[in-house]
């Protein structure tokens, strides 16, 4: 056995390695197309931080990403792959949009109603995945993918049909929401919703605490690591899985609502914008640590938000950010595989439900 300090170094090394290697590969690509990697970094940084408005853009991307990441930590703890997080965002957005379009209340009442509805919508959509998984034996990845597609189609139907703007729909969006339905920005220089920031902070604190300090969190962990043993020790594993899905769905729902109630001010097709999938990646990168997850989510928001500047500054396509992101994913998976090979744990983990095995393989050490 390695001494502890050695192990920690190894762990940190394996966490940093893929990021460094992806940066190097991307830099080589940039060189190959005739640009300077340093310029690219500067342009991305400029894109993200050049003024308070551009920074607000980063934060607005980060808020739903952070919410979904925190939610996914809950499902991953329970050993579940909640791919359906995208659909849960969309349904949350749809539920919130309904209130925004059809409920006439003053803002202080309407906005909480929208948020609560978004949580209910996202939670229900996630509960459906959970129901399929726990009662009918449909793997949550398949259920999630199917329900993502359904949520998407449903929102498009609403936009182009019942909820189409009266001026003649283009199927691009519903009519803009009334002002009282929108989350108020902090200021015009820094248009970010304070309420949403508070919700992110609250989710972070509550989830961190619930996983560490409550019986529920302990049961989730037990279920995720070995659901068979957990069941034999008296853990209500089905209930654990169900509640994990619902909590994640509720947080994703808020994330979806934020997109329509703040970013777009109307319901649009694919309101989730792939943020749910990105959140999966964030959690795969950091493991089950909520605080790290929101930090990595922020880094991603900076890279993706900042890269919009590449076109203007360097005539490079902003998809370069996607390339970097893709390399990070591949290399994280690769380095996890290597880590398994070189530092196998003392005892080979048993063979619990497949999902758990997958999670165990992919997570960096906690």
């Amino acid at each position: 056995m390695n001494p502890p300090s050695n192990r920690t170094a190894l762990t940190v090394g394996f966490a940093l390695l893929p990021i460094i290697v992806s940066l190097v590969i991307t830099a080589v690509l940039v060189l190959a197309v005739g640009s300077n990697p340093i310029d690219v970094l500067v342009a991305v940084a400029e894109g993200a931080f050049r003024n308070s408005n551009s920074f607000a853009g980063v934060v607005n991307f980060w808020i739903p990403l952070a919410l979904c990441s925190i939610g996914l930590i809950v499902t991953f703890t329970a050993g579940l792959w909640n791919i359906g997080v995208e659909g849960q965002m969309i349904v949350g957005a749809v539920f919130a949009s309904w209130a925004a379009l059809f409920v006439d209340l003053p803002a202080p009442l309407l906005i909480p109603l929208e948020i609560v509805l978004a949580m209910i919508g996202g939670g229900l959509w996630a509960a459906l995945v959970g129901f399929l998984k726990t009662r009918l034996g449909v793997h949550e990845i398949f259920g999630g993918v199917a329900l993502n597609a359904l949520a998407n189609v449903w929102s498009i139907y609403l936009i182009s049909g019942p909820w189409a703007p009266p001026t003649g729909g283009t199927a691009q969006a519903t009519a803009p929401f009334k002002d009282s339905a929108l989350l108020p920005p902090l200021s015009s220089e820094f248009p970010v919703s304070l309420l949403a920031l508070i919700l992110v902070a609250a989710a972070l604190v509550i989830v961190t605490f619930a996983l560490r300090g409550t019986r529920w969190g302990l049961q989730l962990k037990a279920t995720g690591k070995n659901s068979k043993s957990a069941l034999l020790l008296g853990v209500p594993t089905l209930q654990s899985a169900m509640t994990a899905f619902i909590v994640c769905g509720m947080l994703a729902g808020i994330g979806g609502a934020y997109r329509v109630l703040f970013t777009y001010a109307s319901l649009r097709p694919l309101a989730s914008g792939g943020i749910g999938f990105l959140a999966l990646l964030v959690v795969l990168l950091v493991g089950l640590r909520p605080m790290f997850a929101v930090m990595i989510a922020f880094t991603f928001a900076v890279i993706l938000g900042g890269s919009t500047r590449l076109k203007v500054a360097l005539q490079l396509d902003q998809s370069l950010a996607g390339v970097l992101q893709g390399f990070i994913v591949l290399l994280v998976l690769l380095s996890n595989g290597l880590r398994q090979r070189f530092t196998p744990s003392a005892v080979e983990p048993p063979t619990p439900i497949t999902a758990t095995v997958e999670v165990q393989r992919i997570q960096p050490p906690v």
Binding site: G213, T214, R215, W216, G217, L218, Q219, K221, A222, K225, N226, K228, S229, A230, L231, L232, L233, G234, V235, P236, S345, A346, V347, P349, P350, T351, P352, Q360
Partner: protein, 493 residues
């Protein structure tokens, strides 16, 4: 094919699964490899068939050192094929497709040629295989035949069979045995048979080797009687009779005419009453039905018919959690698969079973853990991950996780893999609980353990159950005979 194993060693952590095993099998012989669970049979067969390498030792084939094959594919090209207990076929494929996979069919695959080949080999052995049937429509016996045909087609000259007669019909067994004799006699193939079923061994084999505790402890030329085989398998020690019977009329659990369906066996119309303070042993080879009974007693298997009552309450059809709430405790054989959770610390395990409030009081849980560690003499710290503990210490913790005074403790192989001291300690704990009224139901492959601790023993063989109403009146030989399916003397009991 002549096979010679020289000084094979294999260790898994602290367990010396194969300890200096040397063995010769000459061409044309059918040899049985016997031994109780954990004796090292599977390990040895896996080494021979390339599933895992030995730590040290050599394999010689036909007088030549088989340098090293480290994969099943390598073993097959060296001429050694293994028939797994569960045939390794692909249910969605047809017989023909399964037949050809792994074989060198060339780039252009000619179904006609391979269909002919499949037909000719099966016809010779008396197997009836329809090449276009999907595997899913085949019985286990037929799937086994297909696998044999496939291995033969790949040029195998030694066949290893792992419990081949489990789950196949009597008729298929006859066909199989006839085919194996044909292969040994006319093709001079060597055949190794791993089996618990002594009657099969007696019916088929030319000689027997016996493993115990990782060592080769005996060889015997057939014919031999069941008694001789049993004596070799389990050693001669007789149980020390410090047996104490506690009388308590209260019925802890009552199985009334239940039918339990398993994958391989079905236990039909079985009734069993266990009184408070009773220790009931369940004997039987793997998958003979005893595991079904044990798990039905805790709600992990639902009876398709009949009634189960615990402590006077009807529990028929109730879930495991209901049984737990009814103060029934269960301990599975695979500790880290079913019971403990790798990745969780000792304290987390204790907290899972003792903390009932919404918020976990970690300070208290750590205190309780500390206390239990002392009480149960566990070598480990509250914050040690459970998988870093040795098997004995894991078993001690599992004991610590169980309720103090359950109505019934149902335990699968409670001393599996434990050394004598740990095993004795576990039994001390169990008997202490029994003295407080707990009924104990346990299964064990260790006949000594069964005879020593049980008040009554139920023996399972292929789903049939026989009761030994007074365990003090039996002995290892008799028990061994019953386990091997030799029920003729049951009336004498």
């Amino acid at each position: 094919m002549d096979i010679e194993l020289k000084h094979i060693h294999k260790r898994f952590g602290a367990v010396h699964a194969n300890n200096d095993i040397s063995l010769k099998v000459s061409a044309g012989h059918i040899v049985a490899v016997l031994g109780e669970n954990g004796a090292g049979k599977s390990t040895l067969m896996k080494i021979l068939s390339g599933y895992q390498p030995a730590d040290s030792g050599e394999i010689w084939l036909d007088g030549k050192s088989a340098a090293s094959y480290r994969t099943p594919q390598g073993a097959i090209s060296a001429g050694i094929g293994m028939l797994q207990q569960d045939p390794l076929d692909i249910p969605a494929f047809t017989v023909l497709e399964n037949f050809v996979y792994g074989q060198n069919t060339g780039f252009l695959f000619s179904p006609r040629k391979w269909r002919e080949r499949l037909k000719s080999i099966s016809a010779r052995l008396g197997f009836e295989l329809d090449s276009d049937q999907p595997i899913a429509h085949l019985s286990i016996g037929q799937r086994q035949q297909l696998e044999i045909v496939r291995l033969l087609s790949m040029g195998v000259r030694t066949l290893i069979l792992d419990e081949p007669t489990t789950g196949i019909s009597a008729e298929q067994k006859l066909v199989l045995f006839k085919a194996l004799r044909e292969l040994a006699m006319h093709d001079h193939m060597s055949i190794l048979l791993v089996s618990h079923k002594l009657e099969d061994v007696i019916a088929l084999c030319d000689s027997v080797v016996v493993l115990r505790g990782g060592r080769l402890v005996g060889k015997l030329q057939m014919p031999a009687t069941t008694d001789e085989l049993v004596r070799l398998m389990f050693g001669q020690e007789l149980a020390p009779h410090a047996h104490e019977c506690l009388i308590n009329p209260k019925i802890a659990i009552n199985l009334d005419n239940v039918t339990l369906k398993g994958k391989r066996v079905t236990v039909e119309n079985f009734s069993m009453k266990i009184r408070s303070c009773e220790v009931i042993g369940l004997a039987g080879l793997e998958e003979s039905g005893q595991d079904l009974i044990l798990r039905a007693c805790v709600g992990l298997i639902k009876a398709t018919r009949g009634q189960i009552t615990v402590n006077g309450t009807d529990m028929t059809g109730k879930s495991y959690r209901d049984f737990l709430a009814g103060n029934v405790a269960f301990g599975a054989a695979g500790r880290l698969e079913e019971g403990l959770i790798a990745g969780l610390t000792l304290t987390e395990h204790i907290a899972l079973t003792t903390e009932n409030k919404t918020l976990v009081d970690w300070a208290r849980a750590t205190l309780v853990t500390d206390h239990k560690i002392k009480q149960y003499n566990v070598r480990g710290r509250p914050d040690s991950p459970i998988e870093t503990l040795s098997g004995g210490n894991q078993q001690r913790l599992l004991m610590a996780l169980m309720p103090d005074n359950p109505v019934l403790m149902a335990l699968e192989q409670p001393t599996r893999g434990l050394d004598v001291d740990s095993a004795r300690w576990i039994w001390q704990q169990l008997l202490e609980r029994r003295a407080h009224g707990t009924a104990i139901l346990f299964s064990s492959p260790d006949l000594d353990e069964l005879v020593t601790y049980s008040d009554r023993i139920f023996v399972a063989y292929a789903g049939r159950i026989v009761e030994i109403p007074d365990a003090t009146q039996t002995n290892i030989d008799e028990l061994g005979r019953l386990i091997g399916g030799n029920f003729e003397k049951e009336s004498a009991l």
